[in-house]
Symmetry: C2
Subunit: 527 residues, 2 copies
């Protein structure tokens, strides 16, 4: 079988490959037939050259044409939904329905359409005008954006269709997508549709490019390449930190989502009031997609005692009653085992699970571990290692003082959830402990599991290091996520005929929000 | 004479010092009498502990109390203006009037008052509310901010009074100021007033702390310390990159202003139309404070030919007619000589100047160098080295094609200026060349020298690496500059009684701009 082509410079063509690879079917553990190339630097170099040219053309592209591309692409994804869902299911073993067809694919097209609306509207760029001094500024595209997609969302975070892709394009940048090697066929199918939509919208043909795989060293090289405008990465902490170091040395903006154990703190009143219901809610969240969500609750904190023991038993019973679903790859299976063993080596005790299942497929027992607060405090870093997959650790806290000590040790995370009772009995404890968690996470939830990440303007899917590389940016939530791929451009004393449309006196579309002399308005500059 | 005290944890106290130092009087070159400590890590550690506690208290401080501090501090600076101007003049040799008393001190108090207004108003934090899903987010303080001030603005960029200080405080963070060792007395005097103003406003006494100096290694250590929330640095590229590397490894947000040669491109029509006037304008800008502005025009680009030669001669005549004023320190004098020699070694020819002046004081001849485009293209990095001080390099371009090639080699800068004629004859060339510069700078000026940096909401005092560490942030311009010192905090399903005031349904002050369901408004959430 021929090696699949890469998309470089507006052409599907044979890769300059140093090797090839196959993805696996996680349900069987067997290699899928298609052979994909591991590109050499020659391919990276060619995509960068083509993207540099595309970036120049895109500077003068209309917001309308960007929006046109994104909406046509969304429609094409819908038209090919059956084929895409089939490909994604085969490569990820995620259920076709509701997960892939009913939830993730609609989320993906919704993100593309929200990004299109943001491009059309233009408010994301925060045009700011000082009429007295004639100084005007806004956010403008950075240039070629590399998007490294994760393994766990073959559509919604796909490097050539997901949130990073949609927002990098909507902010006016070409994208070079690096497929996640666990679902290359899905990515190829998506890129085919993106490429056709580019032509329909009249955008440069190199606005979207696709490589499937390349060596780590080339990732570091491209992160530092002066042609790279920015990069977005979602994946393992290990690989992400290598990319970050290379990008940082070169001053390349890099937006990384690295790891998160998403602490869930259940206060005593809530446990007493509705422990059984919470056990169900927690188990459901932990087992969503076999725990392979960035926001999966990996660390559950509760106060030691009989109610906690009953809760633990209830969660254990639920975990044991559900058959484990396949993990995304042999690598995830291996890492999960290593991480569970690492947690045990640091003092966590196994409540249930803790072993891989025999073939076929990449499966691991639904796993629960427990540790007391004192043991946690003795090895806080080791006991916060992310066990990506269907495993969670419960920390049993002695009292409020120890709870505060434990929370002070929590690393930067995407989310934290706090459950409290409905009568207000937990309020004093909440007031004491919530501020400690607040400072350590991007999103604080109450009485809600963290696994839902709504595409809302108010969402923050981000957080302090090491959850991400910078606590001021979100990768989900439009329009804020577009600003990651932009530089602040100021015009000082520049005459009107040379200003971008967004900074002219007249509001270019009559609805763009602009900060004029300190007030947000959709009006023209008053003459 | 006793060693001057440091301000740690709400007390002026003796430093734990590994050494001491004296600043010099740049006009005489002689050491000033006051002895200042070089702190050991013990002092850094103590400030971090105290700032961590202060940060916790500040979380619940009212915006009003932050504003109260900043405005009282501004008033105290004005009340002590004579003393402060005297101290700054002695340590920098900058003219008392108009520069220090008439320009820089008022700019500083204006910045403090603008920051106070931003704190009071609260719009800087961009509160964003999704009423349907009850998801709410805003920017919230990061925690202790280290401010490293530069040598060239003893008031307006002072680590304990300048723009970084004002905005870090206004966004709710304690500041640990690292004085610039060329003006420690001025910094001490300012910190005395800040400390008194803290008490008047009822803020924690460790909200402002001051150290004068410490070894590089301790700077790297504090940049990576988990207690550090962020750091802001303005200074040399060499020291800044060390801090950046340490901060990046630890995931600490670091905002750095490193270097800039601020290219000024004079198009042929402008040269023909008003060459003589432009020579005067350029020389004035180059010699402001002996060229020691971050935005000083260090690289001037013009098209070769008779008009360019006449322009060069006119600039040379002006430079030679003005007596050089003192540089800020022996270090600046030494570096300037090294950099001028480096430019010459890379092929630049001396037009005038090029040597230090004999004592007394730190003075260097007003210096102009020239190079042709071809030579520039042979060594673009070496010929862009920043010669901080009263030296500039003119590049004589052969034609438009070479101009484009040269501009393509320009590194990230804070600013670029383009001069064109008033009849429109330069427009074609402008349209060809401006986009190349636009992508490389934070602020693009037309027919204006870059040395004025208005404190305007539309200002961008920032730019692509290596001018700064990230092209999306500005260090001047309120409210945007406040967001550097903030993390995005999202609240998902959190009941009203637990939300910060800014995210409640009711607008807390009736004038805060909030993005509610996609529209900016000062109104309450509609019930």
């Amino acid at each position: 079988m021929a090696v699949e082509p890469v998309l470089i410079g507006g052409e599907w063509r044979a890769a300059n490959a140093s090797a090839t690879f196959h993805a696996d079917d996680p349900a069987t553990g067997e290699a899928l037939p298609e052979e994909f190339p591991v590109s050499s630097w020659t391919d990276c170099d060619a995509t960068l050259d083509a993207a540099t040219h595309a970036a120049k053309s895109l500077r003068t592209a209309s917001p309308e044409s960007l929006a046109e591309f994104l909406t046509r692409y969304a429609a094409r994804i819908e038209a090919r939904a059956g084929d895409l869902v089939e490909a994604a299911h085969r490569e990820t073993a995620l259920p076709k329905s509701p997960r892939l067809a009913g939830v993730e694919l609609p989320r993906t097209t919704d993100q593309l359409r929200q990004a299109a609306a943001a491009a059309r509207d233009g408010s994301w760029a925060m045009p700011t005008i000082d009429t007295q001094r004639n100084i005007r500024s806004h956010f403008a595209p950075l240039g070629p954006v590399w998007v490294f997609g994760p393994n766990n969302f073959p559509f919604a975070f796909n490097s050539v269709a997901g949130g990073d892709f949609a927002t990098a394009i909507a902010s006016g940048n070409p994208v070079i997508a690096k497929a996640n090697p666990s679902h290359p066929r899905t990515t190829e199918r998506l890129a085919e549709e993106a490429f056709l939509a580019l032509a329909e919208a009249g955008l440069p043909r190199a606005t979207v490019q696709l490589l499937y795989h390349f060596p780590y060293a080339d990732g570091e090289r491209l992160a530092a390449d002066p042609r790279t405008g920015a990069l977005a990465y979602t994946g393992s902490r290990h690989a992400g930190l290598k990319l970050k170091a290379a990008a940082d040395r070169a001053g390349t903006p890099a937006y990384l989502e690295l790891s998160s154990v998403n602490p869930v703190l259940i206060l005593p009143g809530a446990l007493a009031e509705r422990g059984e219901a919470l056990a169900g809610e927690l188990t459901g969240s932990c087992l969503l997609a076999a725990g392979q969500f960035c926001t999966s609750p990996g660390l559950v904190l509760l106060f030691a005692g009989d109610p906690a023991e009953r809760f633990l038993a209830a969660v254990e019973a639920r975990l044991e009653a559900v058959a484990p679903t396949p993990l995304l790859s042999a690598g995830v299976l291996r890492s999960l085992g290593e991480n569970v063993n690492g947690l045990r080596a640091a003092g966590a005790q196994l409540v249930c699970g803790g072993s891989p299942l025999p073939p076929p497929g990449f499966r691991y027992q639904n796993t629960l571990l427990r540790v007391d607060g004192e043991t946690f405090l003795a090895s806080p870093a080791e006991l916060q290692r992310e066990a990506f997959g269907n495993a969670s650790l419960m920390v049993l806290l002695r009292d409020a003082e120890q709870a505060a000590q434990v929370l002070e040790q929590i690393e930067g995370n995407l989310t934290a959830s706090i459950y409290s009772d409905t009568s207000g009995a937990d309020d004093a404890l909440y007031n004491q402990l919530a501020p400690i968690l607040r400072a350590r996470v991007g999103r604080l939830l109450n009485d809600k599991m963290p696994t839902g990440v709504a595409v809302s303007p108010a969402m923050n899917h981000g957080g302090p290091f090491p959850a991400t590389g910078h606590p001021g940016f979100t990768s989900v939530g439009i329009p804020a996520s577009l600003r990651r791929f932009a530089a602040l451009h100021c015009y000082d004393n520049v005459p009107a005929r040379r200003l971008p449309a967004a900074l002219q006196d007249a509001n270019p579309n009559g609805r763009m929000w602009r900060l004029i002399d300190g007030a947000w308005t959709q009006a023209d500059v008053a003459r």
